[in-house]
Amino acid sequence: MTEAAIRTEGLSKFYGSVRALNDLSMEVTAGEVFGFLGPNGAGKTTTIRLLLGLIRPSAGKAEIFGLDSCSEPVEAHRRLSYVPAEAGLWPSLTGEETLHLLGKVNGHVDEVYRDQLVKRFELDSSRKIRAYSRGNRQKVILIAALMSRPDLMIFDEPTSGLDPLMEHEFRNCVSEARQRGQTVFLSSHILSEVEALCDRVAILRNGRLVEIGTLEEMRHLSALKMEITFAKDIPDLSAVPGVATLQSAGRTVSLQLTGPVKPLLEALAASEITELVSREPSLEELFLSLYGEGQLPKASGAHA
């Protein structure tokens, strides 16, 4: 029954020989907060501009609430708002005038909510855009996107330039939006933000989708970190399936485990253990491993 807020099918964009986005197929369900991650140049902004119909796909298609991004952009845009990574605004307008203008263009604005947002983000809206700092400009477009309470909000690095307090305020806004049933598509480099907000995450690298799923699912895919301190001798664990990067210091062994835990437990059964610490990888470690391991497949992929 749940409707797809965003759906792409084989979506691709090539700039000459540069494959900015290659064959992306995914779905974002209405009502979820979806994180979109990847290293610089992975194709995140390209995807978002394709979703908005600002650029044309080389292949495939994108739909917003079932409306084609290319052929029915206006209908699609009535239901969404967009925060670009870098805003182009009119330097001679004040913040208030800008919000007024963009509200008129949107057609519907929750004015009470807008004024509330101006207060919450501590924006001095009587100043001219020219006189704003970068963070304050970012606040203007954030408020402009939030104030119409659309069904879908697409954010491209929305908090770049915001101070920690304002970033916290942004998180509150996204949480409220989720409670109201709005869909959020969030591209960000701030992993703690994504970890705190997102139900599901997709990871892009070199224009390809490498992972998609909930954070839980992703953690299972990656290694579990363990530190085991033995009372006496250290058993040989290198042959145990799933165990990698063994390091020992004194009686303590650090290892990484992928896959089921049972073989390791069986191998440890005979030994006397004084301490066992196991830790799930943080999102950051997850991404460092995922981004980093890109080097090899990319090199071999170039020849394929």
Binding site: R56, V74, W90, L93, E97, V105, S126, I141
Partner: protein, 528 residues
């Protein structure tokens, strides 16, 4: 940094130097052709020489019966205004423009202080004016050797110097206002005010109202008093150099006192909301265009009234001169006031074409700066947005055409009632036709090669202009002559507008604009 600046100004300095030199050559040599007999020359001197309105507008005309007097009278003000604007633009660009774009911070993170850096830029700019002077001087000296002009080397050098002084002074003005304004545009605007005020001051001084001493308060007045060739007064080089050195010194001092990117005059950065016109993309476009509308409107009105005003006298002398054949080749056949007005409206047509291209470069800038994304990510169609901008541009062009007709009529009406309002209104609308054509072609280019919009648009206008004038001298094959859009337009009011070719130009413009809109709707939005 001095070398960097010099390289930055050198091309335009040499270009304008050559243009100024050509002004000298062409007006010196054409005088001999137009005013052949002493009687012609005396009547010219009688018509303009003691005329207060002429001297208020263009400066005094002491010796119009000589080639030298006529040449100086004819070109000094044009050169002074162009030179002043060029000086302002060059210095605000290299001082303030580079600062605004953050390039200064890179240079300053090296060992130089802000004072030193500013001083170096000023040295580079000085080099630019010297280059301009040398280029003008070379042509002036060469022209001086011709028997008609017959000017020795030293007076020719002094003539070139006097022509270079306004550029020199306004480089100083630009350097100074670069310290005052919050951005380059504002620095240039302050400088423009200073240029306008100094023109107004010397106009009052020359209007015969007993306020002649005011001439000493005006930078353009000092230039006027140099009076090369006729009765040179090198004494007024003193205030010129003194003023410029003072401005240069103040710029260096002020540059050291303020922060990079800051201004001494605080812009009103805070204001209550003015929501006028802010109801959508078209309203915003009109609001953003207001300064452009105001300045082009003033320029077209002023040129229209001036040309209308001098048309009567100019038309009288024209009917007796060989210029008439040149005018006829430009399409302004017939004699007298109407032929003169025909060529005048050609100049206004060129202005309107520049306005047309300017509209499209503004459209492209909106896309390149990603302001367009704000609209297109909302419920606004691409075609609706572009068509709105084009509608505004066409209305603006039509309004400017009508304004030029009305103002020219007012100018003519001061002296005579030789040309009727409807005739001049038709001439005004006539010049909108090539402008609409160029607007359409620029839109087409914007539709498939957005980054080339400005180059192709301005290139087309420049080509048409060049062909028109080279063709006017009679040195062109008619196929090439026909590629000039201005040649396709009849030189109304010398002859009636050619409705067929005007309609063709408008139709080509509309078709190209439509194609441009469709292509724009299908392409990628491209940032800068």
């Amino acid at each position: 940094m001095a070398r960097r600046t010099l390289l930055g100004v050198l091309p335009s300095a040499v270009l304008w130097g050559v243009v100024f030199g050509l002004f000298v050559a062409s007006s010196a040599l054409s005088y001999a052709g137009i005013y052949k007999t002493q009687a012609d020359r005396d009547s010219l001197a009688a018509a303009f020489g003691a005329n207060v309105s002429t001297s208020a507008l263009f400066g005094p005309a002491p010796q119009l019966q000589t080639v030298a007097g006529f040449t100086v009278f004819k070109i000094w003000l044009t050169v002074a205004l162009i030179g002043g604007i060029w000086g302002l633009m060059a210095s605000t660009k290299l001082l303030r423009g580079d600062e605004d774009s953050g390039r200064w911070e890179l240079l300053l993170s090296g060992a130089t202080t802000r004072e030193q850096a500013t001083f170096q830029v000023l040295l580079g700019l000085l080099g630019g004016t010297v280059a301009l002077w040398i280029a003008t001087a070379a042509l002036a000296v060469a022209t001086g050797r011709s028997p008609e002009f017959n000017v020795a080397v030293r007076p020719a050098l002094y003539l070139a110097l006097s022509l270079a002084t306004t550029a020199f002074m306004f480089m100083g003005v630009g350097a100074f206002t670069s310290q005052l304004g919050a951005a380059r545009r504002q620095a240039a605007a302050y400088g423009g005010w200073i240029l306008g005020i100094s023109y107004a001051l010397r106009m009052v001084a020359d209007s015969g109202t007993g306020l002649h001493w005011l001439i000493w308060t005006s930078p353009l007045g000092w230039v006027e008093m140099l009076q090369p060739l006729t009765s040179p007064k090198p004494i007024s080089l003193l205030p010129i150099f003194g003023f410029t050195c003072l401005l240069g010194y103040l710029s260096v001092v002020l540059a050291g006192r303020r922060d990079v990117g800051a201004s001494l005059i605080q812009e009103r950065s805070r204001s209550g909301p003015r929501l006028l016109l802010l109801s959508g993309h078209m309203g915003l476009a009109v609001r953003m265009l207001r300064p452009v509308i105001a300045s082009w409107g003033t320029a077209v009105a002023a040129v229209g009234v001036l040309l209308g005003y001098i048309a009567y006298a100019a038309g009288e002398t024209l009917s007796k001169s060989s210029m008439q054949t040149i005018y006829a080749r430009l399409g302004a056949s017939g004699a007298g006031i109407k032929a003169f007005l025909g060529v005048s409206f050609l100049m206004l047509a060129v202005m309107l074409s520049f306005v047309a291209v300017g509209q499209l470069t503004a459209v492209r800038a909106e896309e390149a700066d990603q302001r367009l994304d704000q609209f297109l990510a909302r419920p606004v169609t691409r075609i609706g947005w572009l068509a709105g901008r084009l509608a505004i541009a066409v209305s603006f062009l039509a309004a400017l055409g009508i304004l030029s007709g009305v103002m020219a009529w007012l100018g003519v009406a001061i002296e005579s009632s030789a040309v009727s309002l409807p005739t001049l209104l038709a001439a005004g609308l006539n010049i909108a036709a090539p402008a609409v054509c160029i607007l359409g072609i620029s839109t087409l280019v914007f539709g498939f090669l957005p980054r080339a919009t400005a180059i192709v648009g301005y290139g087309l206008v420049s080509w048409s202009l060049l062909v028109e004038f080279v063709g006017g001298i009679g040195a062109l094959n008619h196929w090439i002559f026909d590629t000039s859009l201005f040649h396709q337009m009849n030189a109304a009011p010398a002859i009636g507008p050619n409705i067929t070719s005007d309609s063709w130009m408008a139709a080509i413009g509309v078709a190209a604009a439509l194609a441009g809109c469709i292509l724009f709707a299908r392409r990628d939005i491209q940032g800068g």
